[in-house]
């Protein structure tokens, strides 16, 4: 749910930077690496995983032992096709593999199997939302064009000690997508919105969990600045190690300011790669263009090209979910939900699905009530629950898609209807909800057990039913006035009948006596 807050919680949009003498415009392209969530590695059967004993997820292929050969994992290809379809890319008819040659100890073969001149996905776009004029108003939407998406293998991890460096190859061979945007972003905030949307899309598609702490999503930014009105791009600087979404925003903002300051001093931007340190908010040069690699790409002779036919694409297309912004537009149109509520609901696919299941059970007219319960109460309770308990719920979600939320959608719908019918009052309903979340019991059961159900008539009709009963029986009224106390019972029958038997007898008695006394 973090993503929902992120869209909104940033300062005013700034695409123009004004410093001293000139107005500058920033031009930013992002290269995002997303680890694909497959059970086994991209070119061998060894499992993928995180946080395990070093070098336990290895075999001759991962370690590049003499004679080992790669074999493609089709599940990784499924995932990139899905990503491409979700982002509107053209899917290449053939998946071709190339070797990117360079020496580095984290790369066991000293070449990386990647896609060079024929990426699997070309074009496409990422829809982003910029901050609106107020928190409850939708911001401007933009479509950021993509250059390409290709698939490759992740490398191992180096751990540098004082005296030596250790290598863990557990990550090596994890399928990795590289998603390259056009240089079409113009501010740190746009980059932030882009990553937020891209990340949500990947999570929505079940392609990746995009946990940046686990390195499942990594971002490099190419940044240049130019005077406003200039059509030629300025010299670009690549910023690396932007390992959280807010570091991406802060790092880019910092780099834009740095470049403008250099230009304002009359200096020139050096084409280089810089390392951003999010903790200190500073960057330093890693290498300049002169040290750039010649990767000597060539087609990998160990892997045959794989034909991606229409049937394959259609099979993947059938499993593609509606994307968050499309869902948001639909929720607003179909359920008449306010923007603020939709922006709470749509960024978590399971939550949105849960909402729709509950609406289906409650009826579309009650969509806003259902949404309010989710946004206010369910998220609060989920937030209070221990993370372990929440994820345990998510595990259970394998068989029950809504298991993570504890309360079955039909029960939430029942609660909404109880409140609407006046059977329970709102304050009581809030208590019932907390208990539903804790115990999984149905709201009616809880209300009955705890005596929280409002008897019929509480909402004001009781007095009228009593008046009608008194007015309808002059004989009994006369007898009561004559001192025959038991005559009051003659009014109770019609009242109970009007209340369909659910009136509180004590309250009926009290009301009748009050009315008779006033008569």
């Amino acid at each position: 749910m973090a993503s929902n807050g992120m869209v909104r919680d940033y300062p005013l949009l700034a695409t123009r930077y004004s410093l001293l003498s000139m107005n500058y415009e920033a031009v930013i392209g992002l290269e995002v690496h997303v680890q694909v969530k497959t059970r086994s590695k991209i070119f061998t059967r060894v499992a993928t995983g995180y946080g395990l004993e070093p070098n336990t997820l290895t075999d001759p292929v991962v370690l590049a032992l003499p004679g080992a050969l790669p074999v493609m994992n089709r599940a990784a290809l499924d995932a990139i096709i899905k990503a491409g379809l979700l982002l509107g890319c053209r899917i290449a008819p053939v998946c071709k593999w190339d070797r990117k040659n360079y020496f580095y100890p984290d790369s066991p073969k000293n070449y990386q199997i990647s896609q060079y001149d024929q990426p699997l996905c070309l074009g496409g776009e990422v829809e982003i939302e910029l901050p609106g004029p107020a928190r409850n108003l939708m911001g401007e939407h933009k479509r950021i064009p993509l250059t390409r998406i290709h698939l490759e293998e992740d490398v191992g991890k180096l751990n540098h000690g004082a005296a030596d460096s250790l290598i863990d190859y557990n990550r090596a061979g994890t399928p990795l997508m590289e998603i390259v945007s056009e240089p079409a972003l113009h501010s740190a905030e746009e980059a932030f919105a882009y990553l937020t949307s891209l990340r949500a899309t990947m999570i929505y598609g079940g392609i990746s969990d995009c946990d940046m702490e686990k390195g499942q999503l990594r971002c490099d930014a190419n940044i240049s600045v130019r005077p406003v009105g200039e059509s030629k791009l300025g010299t670009k600087v690549e910023l690396k190690n932007l390992n959280s979404i807010s570091f991406v925003r802060d790092g880019i903002a910092h780099e834009i300011k740095r470049q403008i300051a250099v230009l304002e001093r009359g200096g020139t931007i050096v084409q280089e790669t810089r390392d951003y340190d999010g903790m200190t908010g500073t960057s330093q040069s890693l290498r300049t263009k002169e040290e750039a690699h010649d990767y000597r790409y060539f087609p990998d002779p160990d892997l045959m090209p794989v034909v991606v036919d229409e049937e394959w694409k259609n099979r993947i297309r059938a499993g593609c979910p509606e994307l968050p912004f499309d869902k948001q537009r639909r929720f607003i149109a179909q359920y008449r939900l306010p923007y603020t509520l939709t922006s709470v609901l749509v960024w978590d696919r399971e939550l949105a699905d849960y909402f729709e299941a509950a609406v289906k059970a409650a009826g579309e007219d009650r969509a806003q009530s259902v949404g309010n319960w989710i946004a206010n109460d369910l998220l609060r309770e989920l937030g209070k629950a221990a993370p372990a308990a929440v994820s345990a719920g998510a595990e259970g979600g394998l068989s029950d898609p809504h298991g993570r939320f504890r309360i079955p959608p039909a029960q939430l719908a029942e609660l909404v209807r109880l409140v609407e019918a006046g059977t329970v009052l709102m304050n009581a309903a809030k208590e019932i909800f907390v208990e539903m979340f804790a115990t999984g019991e149905a709201p009616g059961v809880i209300a009955d057990r705890r005596g929280l159900k409002v008897a019929a008539g509480d909402a004001g009709e009781l007095e009228q039913w009593c008046r009608d009963a008194i007015a309808g029986n002059a004989k009994a009224l006369a007898e009561f006035k004559a001192g025959k106390d038991s005559a009051i019972n003659a009014f109770k029958g019609p009242v109970m009948k009007a209340a369909k038997g659910r009136a509180n007898p004590k309250l009926v008695d009290e009301t009748l006596r009050r009315l008779l006394a006033g008569n």
Partner: protein, 490 residues
């Protein structure tokens, strides 16, 4: 009768089945022979005598229990030292891997074990299979059993020499540009390079991935057929292995006796061909005519580009394939390196020999930015033309007949110029570039007593036919029953 170690698989299998012979006896005989001749031949980088005898004892136990495995039960087979065998050294005859022990089996190894073979010894070769004489081995050269002052050919020289000297009943080699067929020709044995994709490369140390293919060395075409049957077939660990039906190659030998339509590629009989070899091949062609085969001249017009194309593609792939030997995870690591780049430089400088370095440098160059289109991409296009030449010829003929090598075995140290060495492969390289099957069968001897090889080139995945054509020649000639006079030559 020649010693046990000169018998065919066919004969030995029959004797083993009839319990006239045990696998232990056979293995002991082969080991004794190896011990006797190795000081002169040096075909092996290492052999594990006790392991071989233990395997033989297990084979005998299986047979006694009625659980014999397959077509190679109890037969000692040597492997070129580029094919992985679990818990055995795997050196590629390189200093780089001098102390490397493989933790896993190649697919061919698994299949040989499944067929009951006794895997015996690591056979010498040119370092990383780069060479045509086995002189590029980092450890020692191997001698040709027919004349120990001469080379056995290469790169699978150890596999050919060991077989010719009776140090194994059959062996496996690998062929990237002729590395099975040329040493088979030099050593007077049968050597088969299968169609690219017929035999899994998993566990074969890669030289040039798109050209490498494992294949058998054997005394007879029939034995080669048995071996091929044991190792061929799709492997899910090798994406370049094909899903094709594997026929009973041995049974197919006798199935059809032709007549076949045979093509003589005119480009393979030009300048540089030793006249004695030319004459021997002509006699073989006459033999096929005598069988009623229609023999016609065909043209493979792009033959002149084979060598250049090969040395671009093979070196490009090698430069990348050999990048993994960096001293980081296994293999030779230089001491005293000051940083990781220095470690790479020193380890590779010390670990690789001159020919390997030459090819890595060539391959790195042709893949470099700005040269890729002119070299690698162009070479791949020419490769397609070369393959089309062959496929066009197969519109007219079933197979092609050529010499295997333009020259017989040359003297150790004779060819110090790399280009002169590369020319040894002029008749074999096209087959690799086109991905075709090729077999070398003995077809005579020079006046100096050196073996001559006849190369038959078949259509893709038509090994059964190719073996039948070779067998038709072999069964009417006695070349394979001759053995080098090693015992008396001392």
């Amino acid at each position: 009768m020649a010693g046990l170690f000169y018998q065919t698989i066919a004969r030995l299998s029959a004797d083993l089945a009839a319990k006239k012979l045990s696998a232990v006896e056979l293995t002991q005989a082969v080991i004794a022979r190896a011990k006797a001749v190795e000081p002169r031949i040096r075909a092996f980088n290492s052999f594990d005598e006790s392991d071989a005898l233990a395997q033989a004892a297990e084979s005998d136990a299986r047979r006694a229990a009625g659980r014999s495995r397959g077509s190679l039960e109890g037969i000692p087979i040597g492997l070129k030292d580029v094919i992985a065998v679990q818990n055995q050294p795997l050196t590629a005859s390189s200093r780089m891997l001098a102390n490397f022990v493989s933790p896993y089996d190649a697919t061919v190894t698994t299949r040989l074990k499944a067929a009951g073979a006794i895997l015996f010894g690591r056979l010498n070769c040119d370092e990383f299979a780069m060479g045509s004489s086995t002189e590029n081995s980092a450890f020692h050269p191997t001698a040709n059993p027919w004349d120990v002052t001469r080379v056995p050919g290469g790169s699978s020289g150890g596999s050919a020499a060991a077989l010719a000297a009776g140090e194994a009943i059959a062996t496996l080699g690998s062929d990237t540009g002729g590395s099975i067929r040329q040493p088979a020709a030099f050593c007077g044995v049968v050597g088969l390079k299968p169609t690219y994709g017929l035999v899994s490369r998993y566990g074969l140390i890669a030289f040039a991935s798109s050209l490498d293919q494992i294949g058998p060395f054997a005394r007879t075409v029939g034995d080669a057929a048995v071996l091929l049957g044991a190792i061929a077939g799709h492997d899910e660990r090798d994406s370049t292995s094909y899903r094709v039906e594997i026929p009973d190659y041995a049974a197919a030998l006798e199935g059809r006796r032709g007549p076949w339509k045979l093509g003589i590629p005119k480009e393979y009989f030009g300048a540089g061909l030793d006249p004695e070899i030319g004459a021997a091949v002509e006699r073989a062609i006459d033999f096929y005519r005598g069988l009623g085969c229609e023999v016609r001249e065909v043209s493979l017009p792009h033959t002149q580009y084979c060598l250049d194309t090969y040395y671009i593609i093979a070196t490009a792939e090698a430069s990348s394939n050999l990048a993994r030997y960096d001293g980081i995870r296994y293999g030779h690591r230089a001491s005293g390196a000051k940083d990781v780049v220095d470690l790479y430089f020193q380890s590779r400088a010390e670990g690789f020999g001159a020919e390997v370095k030459r090819r890595i440098i060539l391959g790195t160059y042709v893949l470099s930015s700005g040269y890729y289109d002119a070299y690698y991409l162009r070479a791949q296009k020419v490769r397609t033309l070369i393959r089309r030449d062959f496929l066009a010829a197969y519109q007219q003929v079933d197979a092609l007949i050529t010499p295997t090598s333009p020259i017989p075995a040359f003297k150790l140290g004779e060819k110090s110029d790399p280009l002169a060495m590369y020319l040894c492969d002029v008749y074999t390289i096209g087959v690799n570039l086109a991905g075709l099957p090729g077999i070398s069968v003995p077809c005579g001897f020079t006046a100096a007593g050196l073996p001559i090889g006849l190369q038959l080139i078949g259509q893709p995945f038509q090994e059964a036919q190719l073996l039948a054509i070779a067998h038709a020649y072999e069964r009417e000639h006695e070349w394979s029953q001759r053995h080098p006079a090693l015992a008396s030559s001392g």
